[in-house]
């Protein structure tokens, strides 16, 4: 998935799992347990936490 981050003007290439996490967050603020539930319970918690940390580093998401 390709995303454009308007505040920085950067374009990012995301792996599918990261893209899926980002799409969930586009619907509104969430947390890891809720995102795991939204994925049907199949998402790996540790992986999801790592992906969110990477997105936070990129400035694409922020911690509430």
């Amino acid at each position: 998935m390709i995303v454009f981050h308007a505040p920085s003007g950067d374009t990012h290439l995301l792996e599918p799992a990261t893209g899926a996490a980002l799409l969930l967050l586009r619907e509104g603020p969430s947390d890891v347990p809720a995102m795991v539930r939204a994925s049907g319970g199949g998402a790996d918690v540790a992986l999801l936490e790592r992906l969110l940390a990477e997105l936070e580093d990129l400035g694409v998401v922020e911690r509430a």
Binding site: I2, F4, A6, T11
Partner: protein, 304 residues
């Protein structure tokens, strides 16, 4: 009025005096020069291009010798935009390459109403083929061959994408060929008309191929993007297409975007729409005739 309506002496005289307003696609360049060899080369390879009489010019360009001793000894030439030198002085015997590269700089640096990609663009039956590529992979050679084998040349150098509807606009100009590509095209397209050879440029010997007259006369007809093809030439390999992932195609196109970053979200959306509507392919070839045949098969596939 077209360049061909002036004979070379009259064209030279116009360039020395009031200048010529040369239309290339959506851009008009007001050009003046005192160099006879440049005037003659432009007359030769821009023969079918329109000359605007008066009106607005997007760029005011002059190619002139500098003041002082460099006018005569190891002569140099300056590319002036709005009266200011754009680059360091260039060798005075390479004025045509300076003109062509300077125009690329002008269009790429100021044409921000379009998303501009460094790519060759050709059209067949209303469908545009975009070939983004870095120098040296055989893009211009392939483009020159296709432009003389049933495809309409929109540009050898830049794809102009209109953000409002995603159409690609023609900007047909001479095709710059270098080194052995010049002879390859002379053999492949015997009827092709070249300007003079320019030796000793940073790219070696270069020559400019006059674009087909039909492509220049249809320069106001945009085309619908249909294919993005990343070409590469390798000696001895058979011509073949292979699918190319859309995400990577997007990034490679962005990498070839002359003003992608400057356009921000508009550039992203325009490029995303382009990649979404196009079939994305890699293309490898070793023989030009095989390559042309492969593109003929591609063009015969139904749209969609």
């Amino acid at each position: 009025m077209r360049v061909e309506d002036l004979d070379p002496p009259a064209f030279r005289e116009r360039l020395r005096g009031e200048g010529v307003r040369l239309r290339t696609g959506p851009f008009v360049t007001s050009l003046r020069t005192t160099y006879k060899e440049l005037a003659d080369a432009i007359h030769c390879v821009y023969l079918d291009h329109e000359i605007e009489e008066g009106g607005f010019a997007d760029f005011h360009v002059a190619i002139v010798p500098p003041r002082g001793i460099r006018r005569w000894i190891r002569s140099q030439a300056l590319f002036l935009l709005d009266g200011w030198p754009l680059f360091e002085p260039y060798p005075g015997d390479l004025t045509m390459p300076l003109f062509e590269w300077g125009l690329n700089w002008c269009f790429g640096g100021a044409g921000h109403e379009y998303l501009i990609l460094h790519a060759a663009v050709l059209e067949r039956d209303g469908r545009a083929l975009l070939m983004p590529a870095k120098p040296g992979v055989g893009k211009s050679t392939l483009c020159a061959a296709l432009a003389h084998r049933g495809w309409r040349l929109l540009s050898d150098e830049m794809a102009l994408l209109r953000p409002s509807d995603g159409m690609v606009l023609p900007i047909p100009r001479p095709i710059g060929l270098k080194e052995e590509s010049i002879e390859v095209i002379r053999r492949f397209v015997p009827e092709a008309k070249f300007g003079p050879l320019w030796h000793g440029t940073v790219k070696g010997t270069v020559a400019h191929l006059r674009p087909p007259a039909d492509a220049v006369r249809r320069a106001r007809e945009p085309a619908t993007p249909a294919w993005i093809v990343f070409p590469s030439w390798r000696r001895g390999v058979p011509a073949r297409f292979a699918p190319h992932g859309r995400a990577d195609a997007f990034l490679r196109c962005a990498d070839h975007g002359l003003n992608y970053a400057a356009l921000g979200l508009r550039g992203f959306e325009t490029l995303a729409a382009l990649v979404d509507r196009c079939r994305c392919l890699e293309f490898e070839y070793g023989e030009l005739a095989e390559a042309v045949a492969a593109f003929e098969r591609l063009a015969s596939e139904p749209a969609g």
